[in-house]
């Protein structure tokens, strides 16, 4: 089982519903966010091109944050989701410095926090909050090892990319381009 997410950059309008839904669902402290919207503009006026992406922790296959954690607080669970065990975290900040995507933050309670692919909802048979709330339905979540899942199907049909592949992290959030 390998959970992954695919986000259609041609349909994302940057409404930030995913940002707010995540904050509401996961009790994210005020002033912090687990996901965010990036707008990339290319070209010279009037030949301009825009790409809008909803970014979050990429739950990498070769994640530097799990590797560098000295206590094992940062670990993989079933499906390749990267999680943090708060009572094992000492708040050293190594994982925060090691993430090339700036996906982690230091929770005010002391431990390190980040997107969890809403694994508590996956356990109930639902998907992540951001995917559920998206008004353009541009986000797909599922099991890459299941050839019939939403994610597998859409990755077969469309061209896609991931972020900073040259960092060697093997991210599992794909952007349909």
């Amino acid at each position: 089982m390998r959970y992954a997410m695919a986000i259609d950059t041609k349909k994302c309008v940057g409404c930030s519903d995913c940002v707010v839904a995540c904050q509401t669902e996961n009790d994210v402290p005020i002033g912090y966010c687990r996901d965010w919207i990036v707008e990339r503009t290319d070209g010279t006026y009037p030949q301009l091109e825009i790409e809008i992406r909803s970014e979050r922790c990429n739950h990498c296959d070769n994640s530097p944050c799990v590797r560098c954690c000295p206590t094992g607080a940062s670990h993989y669970i079933e499906g390749g989701i990267v999680k943090v065990t708060p009572h094992k975290c000492i708040g050293c900040g190594a994982c925060i410095a090691s993430c090339p995507y700036d996906a982690r933050y230091s929770h005010p309670d002391g431990y390190v926090d980040k997107c969890t692919f809403c694994d508590h909802l996956i356990a109930l048979g639902e998907g992540p909050a951001c995917v559920a709330v998206c008004p353009t339905k541009c986000m797909y979540f599922g099991d890459l090892d299941d050839p019939n899942s939403d994610v597998s199907n859409v990755l077969k049909k469309r061209k896609y990319k991931s972020l900073i592949p040259e960092a060697g992290t093997k991210p599992q959030v794909f952007y349909l381009i």
Partner: protein, 313 residues
């Protein structure tokens, strides 16, 4: 033109606008740990080489400051933690892929060893000292008898202590400035240089002072070589590394690095030590203070500039 902006208003504390997760605690510990490693390295090296009596300043006197350096350094590290009550979790497991885990265990081993080293040489400072408690007398005898084995363990641990902080930084591929394998040897050389400089202050004979001045000169030469090659490597690497190097070659860290670390911390003390070896009168503390200052500033600048360097946006 390409422009990438976060438009949903992210401002996570310590992450935005640029990473600032580690502050003064970390560079201070890196300096104290490197200095402690340098002193213990030379102390144990000369026991192994059987030259203890020639270099009694290095072997018996200089290590007295090491336990204090390590305890202050560990205190700084503890203050940096954001989940302090759980710090003991570090010692419930060893994670071979995490240099921070190696460091925690190395410190756990080397701190008591440095205390033992000072204890078996305590008569150097307090000639009339007698261990009263029978267990302490037995321990003193045991470690004095097995001093060679203790020295071997100490020399290996001190090298790990001196180099692992550079390896820890270089393992962060997310920080282009740190992601070079030259950083480990550079930090080790800087730590050994600081140790050699402090040993000059504790030296018991002119010969010892001169030998450690020469060792320090050699280490400064090695550091300069490593720094030059580090920047050559960055300039020849990918765009993110070129931008990281540019922080020091025209960017905001140019003046502090080249003036404080290279000129004041390496070149000026090297010149002063050469003059001293040529029998000119130089106050002994001056090159030592400059070397220590340069070693401290190297770590401060690399720690802060590394957090500023990034892959994104």
């Amino acid at each position: 033109m390409r422009e990438e902006l976060i438009t949903s208003g992210r401002m996570n504390a310590n992450i935005d606008p640029y990473l600032e997760i580690w502050h003064w605690h970390i560079p201070l510990y890196l300096f104290l740990g490197g200095l402690a490693a340098g002193i213990l390295f030379f102390a144990s090296l000369y026991v192994i080489l059987g030259r203890e009596s020639d270099y009694s300043g290095a072997v018996r006197r200089a290590p007295i400051i090491v336990p204090f350096l390590l305890v202050i350094g560990l205190g700084a590290l503890f203050l940096d933690l954001r989940h302090k009550l759980y710090f003991w979790q570090l010692y419930t497991t060893i994670k071979l892929e995490s240099p921070m885990s190696w460091g925690a265990w190395t410190l756990m081993a080397i701190t008591p060893i440095s205390i033992i080293w000072v204890a078996i040489h305590i008569q150097e400072f307090f000639p009339k000292w007698q261990w009263k408690n029978v267990i302490l007398v037995e321990m003193n005898d045991f470690f004095t008898k097995n001093k060679l084995s203790l020295a071997w363990i100490t020399v290996i641990l001190s090298v790990i202590l001196g180099i692992y902080t550079g390896i820890l930084f270089s393992a962060f591929n997310a920080r282009p400035l740190w992601n070079t394998s030259i950083l480990g040897p550079l930090f080790l050389a800087s730590g050994l240089s600081a140790g050699a400089a402090v040993i000059i202050l504790f030296a018991q004979s002119k010969k010892e002072r001169q030998i450690f001045a020469k060792i320090d000169l050699m280490l400064i030469g090695i550091e300069l070589f490593l720094i030059i090659h580090m920047f050559m490597g960055f300039r020849a690497s990918t765009q993110v590394q070129i931008e990281a190097a540019d922080l020091f070659l025209g960017g905001p860290y140019t003046a502090p690095f080249w003036i404080f670390v290279v000129v004041l911390g390496m070149l000026v003390p090297a010149v002063l030590e050469i003059m001293e070896l040529r029998h000119k009168k130089i106050p002994v503390f001056l090159p030592v203070a400059l070397v220590l200052f340069g070693s401290l500033m190297l770590r401060f600048i690399i720690a802060y500039a590394g957090q500023f360097s990034r892959w994104l946006y």
